[in-house]
Amino acid sequence: MLAPMSESSKSSLNELTDETLVELVQRGGAPAKASFQAQAAFAKLRERYNEQVVASAAQFGKTGAEDVAQEAWIKVWTKIADHFDGRNFRGWLFRLVKHEAINAYRLAQRKREQSISLDFESKGDGSASSLAILLERKEPLELCIAKLPERQQCIVRATLQQMKIAAAAEHCGITAAQASVAKHHAIKSLRACTTREGV
């Protein structure tokens, strides 16, 4: 754990670019002072980007996102000396986070499918893009929506097609007040269903 820093030292670190901080991390080696520099610089990078790293880690769902973010930061720490080329730290960081998030999603998916055996030829071409995963995640949600009463389904579909409540009500043949109530109940039911289904 880093010791408390003086205000002037904090300010000094604040003024450094990402790439300069990275150089300090990369220099972190055996000497005690160097290792302290590395940890201080790495803490500053986390302070700058942790909010965004956590958000990015959640792009395929919030379940497990914190683990993804944590693993990503540890990988940054262990890989930065050999695998960062000194240019555009942010780009490198968020590619790594995305890579972790995709791997975590695919692993969780396989566990759900109980596909424990590994077939080298047919599984895991690794080409799952963010968009492909986004589309895969639709299915359980569709199942939850299908379980809603008809009126609620209609309102949900209309809302997801970006109709405002008045237009959605007209589309579904009900009053705006009824539409609001139906939407409220639908949200409540969908939350419960998606939680049950582990979406």
């Binding site: 754990m1 972190g28 996102a65 949200i187």
Partner: protein, 292 residues
């Protein structure tokens, strides 16, 4: 699961700030998935990107937020949710300070704190430092670091609590220093990778902890392999290698899951891991021979 797509503001004036919060928040993936439910073209049909969808306003968006976009532009983004994920990636990778000032939810803030605590804890418990290496690239600018070092050394004055971490053992397997940067023909390169994978068999961990550590090291080596440029290989060989490497990595993850679940005894998990690595070694060797 939150349902942000069902909570899009009715008032158009609130749409931009709401969407900005989504873009920096933890619910964007859920939002995109929900918006994609009844949209055939979650991605642009022509494969176009944000540069096409927003055009020359993208630079302004990255610098100053969504206020420069019309309601139609914003609705257009919501109509093609794949672009939302792309925009988030651009904001995080290239966005200006404006975006770091967009408020995040209390749930998000709590998650950030938990992640920071966990990472700090892990570094404190096992402060394996990154391997000592010459910084890659930008060597001409090394002199610029000197003032920074001086500044940071000030921190050390009050840093009695921090213990220096041990010097890490040299990496093995795909993490072996210098392995991936050798300028050698493709067949030799693959042969060396095969030999590197074979280092797995140098140890026979007999406890759960040591096997877990060994598996994690191999998995991290796969990550190293996935991130490397492999300039020694032709495109088709590189594609083959990355595909295989992902499968190996997944296999190791499954072995780790088996170990953690206690589904099999340690010897069985190790046998399965041995089998997996043996296939990896053979595959690399055969590919090398086919090129030789």
């Amino acid at each position: 699961m939150n349902l942000p797509a069902l909570e899009i503001p009715e008032d158009d004036a609130l749409l931009a700030p709401w969407l900005e919060r989504q873009l920096v928040g933890m619910d964007l993936g859920d939002l995109a998935t929900q918006l994609a439910l009844w949209q055939e073209d979650a991605a642009p049909p022509d494969g176009s990107s944000l540069d096409v969808a927003i055009g020359d306003r993208l630079a302004t968006v990255l610098e100053a937020g969504l206020c420069g976009l019309s309601v139609d532009d914003l609705r257009g983004l919501l109509a093609r949710p794949g672009l939302l994920l792309e925009l988030q990636a651009r904001i995080f990778g290239e966005g200006g300070d404006y975006w770091r000032g967009v408020a995040i939810s209390s749930e998000h803030r709590a998650a950030v704190q938990r992640v920071e605590s966990a990472v700090s804890e892990r570094l404190r418990e096992r402060p394996t430092l990154p391997p000592v290496a010459e910084p890659v690239g930008n060597l001409r600018a090394r002199w610029r670091v000197l003032p920074a070092i001086a500044a940071v050394l000030l921190l050390a004055l009050g840093a009695w609590a921090l213990r220096p971490g041990p010097v890490p053992a040299p990496g093995w397997g795909f993490d072996r220093p210098g392995l991936l940067t050798q300028q050698i023909p493709a067949d030799q390169y693959l042969t060396m990778l095969s030999q590197a994978a074979n280092q797995w068999f140098n140890k026979k961990p007999d406890s759960a902890d040591s096997l877990r550590a060994r598996l994690i090291q191999f998995r991290d080596g796969c990550d190293t392999l996935l991130a490397a440029p492999h300039a020694q290989l032709a495109a088709a060989d590189k594609e083959w290698l990355l595909k295989r490497c992902r499968a190996w990595r997944d296999g190791i993850e499954i072995r780790l899951a088996e170990l953690d679940a206690g589904e099999f005894d340690i010897a069985e998990v190790r046998r399965r891991a041995d089998e997996l690595v043996e296939k990896a070694v053979d595959a690399l060797h055969q590919r090398a021979e086919s090129l030789g």
